[in-house]
Amino acid sequence: MIKFEHVQKTFGDHQALSDINTTFNAHETTVIVGPSGSGKSTLLRSLNLLERPESGLYHFNDQTIDFAKPLTSKTVLNVRRKTGMVFQDYNLFPHLSVLKNVMEGPVQVLKQKPSAAKQTALDLLTKVGLADKANAFPGQLSGGQQQRVAIARSLAMNPEYVLLDEPTSALDPELEAGVLRVLLALAQEDNSMIIVTHNMEFARAVADKILFVEDGKILFDGTPAEFFKQPTQRIADFLAAMTFTTISDKANQ
């Protein structure tokens, strides 16, 4: 279980996160939604310390990090090795083959034997449906394929939590479906995932818990069933803005 307590983060004058308190359970999928610039990506990136909040507590299993104190590089590496990250624009290593991209972390960071890492990598590539692309370079793949490689790369580290920052926002709809299928399968295997997404249908299908973030604050923290009942006017407005169905309903009125 990981938990944020009173976490604050500012960029200059802008309060990106203000008094964030929430828990991310293991073996559950938490979906973070909210308008652009709301702080949801900052929240996600704070979980693997790509961003450093100024204050607050971060509980990672038994370990507690106080953001007000300087972090040791050992702490940072430890958290990052236990959290995988998937980015909106994939960020695969272009100079390494697909297979080497997936093997890089296990071999360089976990010091696994290349032969063992290769087997794991091939299994993961099979899982995301790209075993036949093992020797291709990232630049030779479609966006959806690259994102599936990025998912395999993060899983290769055997992380306790996988963090996904708008994993399908850069993809065309037909490529998006392939990535979402992979993520749905991972969620059904009870992996621990935290996903930032704008796709409400996907959020509804995959989430065990939803966080609605706006202006750096968590305005909703609960189950998807409750969230999609539109408990507040703000959430109703947000969902209306995010879903085409609502727009076409209005057009029919």
Binding site: L50, R80, F87, N91, G105, V109, F137, Q140, R153, S154
Partner: protein, 235 residues
């Protein structure tokens, strides 16, 4: 015409020997040392201003400024003719006396290192931030990120400008003639002084430099192809 051919045929081997003994080794050794200096300088210039790194950074900035702001010929003269007069009691009572070979390689390395440092710094900065973040996210240390992810990509980006520097350096080694190194240009000067054929001799040595630099251009093309394999679409 017969006499011109005779001059060329008899002096070309002497120039070639000077090239093999001095011009080429000086250029290669200086560029190798210069590249190491350049990578270190670029990394120091890019490091955060913290603790003793601020001192190193100041040194790196001063070094690049100094060697880019003064003529190479003047640098050679200071190192070879000037440093013997830098007498400090207890450390160098007799000044710093370098033989021409050492003085030449030291100056050429420092000079090309200053230019290449800026090339490499720019190449590192050209790699998208997302590459750092992705590498950090799989738990790599800063050193691992640089060595495994950033520098290999920066090397490809910096290949054309580094080739420029290397080609310039090959030609600039002719300045070593002024500190008594018998490299290609010095040899052709000596022969021209004997046979009174400066046009033939200097054109001939120019052709030697042109051939060397052409080979380097080919090498650059080959390396660019090799390091860009991953950018080509799958057929």
């Amino acid at each position: 015409m017969d006499s011109i051919w005779h001059i060329i045929v008899t002096s070309a081997p002497q120039i070639a020997v000077a090239g093999l003994k001095y011009t080429i080794p000086i250029a290669i050794i200086s560029f190798a040392i210069g590249l190491i200096l350049a990578v270190l300088t670029a990394l120091v210039k890019l490091s955060p201003r913290r603790g003793w790194f601020s001192i190193l950074k100041a040194v790196a900035y001063f070094y690049v400024w100094l060697f880019r702001s003064t003529p190479l010929l003047v640098q050679l003269f200071i190192v070879y003719f000037g440093l013997p007069y830098l007498k400090i009691k207890g450390i160098w009572p007799n000044g710093i006396q370098l033989d021409p070979w050492t003085a030449g390689i030291a100056t050429f390395s420092l000079n090309t290192g200053a230019y290449c440092a800026e090339t490499i710094r720019a190449a590192i900065l050209s790699i998208p931030q997302g590459q750092w973040e992705a590498a950090y996210s799989i738990g790599m240390t800063k050193t691992q990120v640089l060595r495994r992810i950033i520098l290999p990509q920066a090397a490809r980006v910096s290949l054309p400008p580094l080739s420029n520097s290397f080609i310039s350096l090959v030609k600039d080694t002719s300045l070593a003639a002024s500190i008594t190194i018998i490299e290609m240009f010095e040899v052709s000067q000596q022969i021209a002084a004997e046979n009174y054929q400066p046009l033939v001799m200097y054109s001939l040595v120019a052709a030697f430099y042109a051939v060397l630099c052409t080979v380097l251009s080919w090498l650059q093309g080959y390396l660019e192809k090799r390091t860009s394999r991953y950018l080509r679409p799958l057929n």
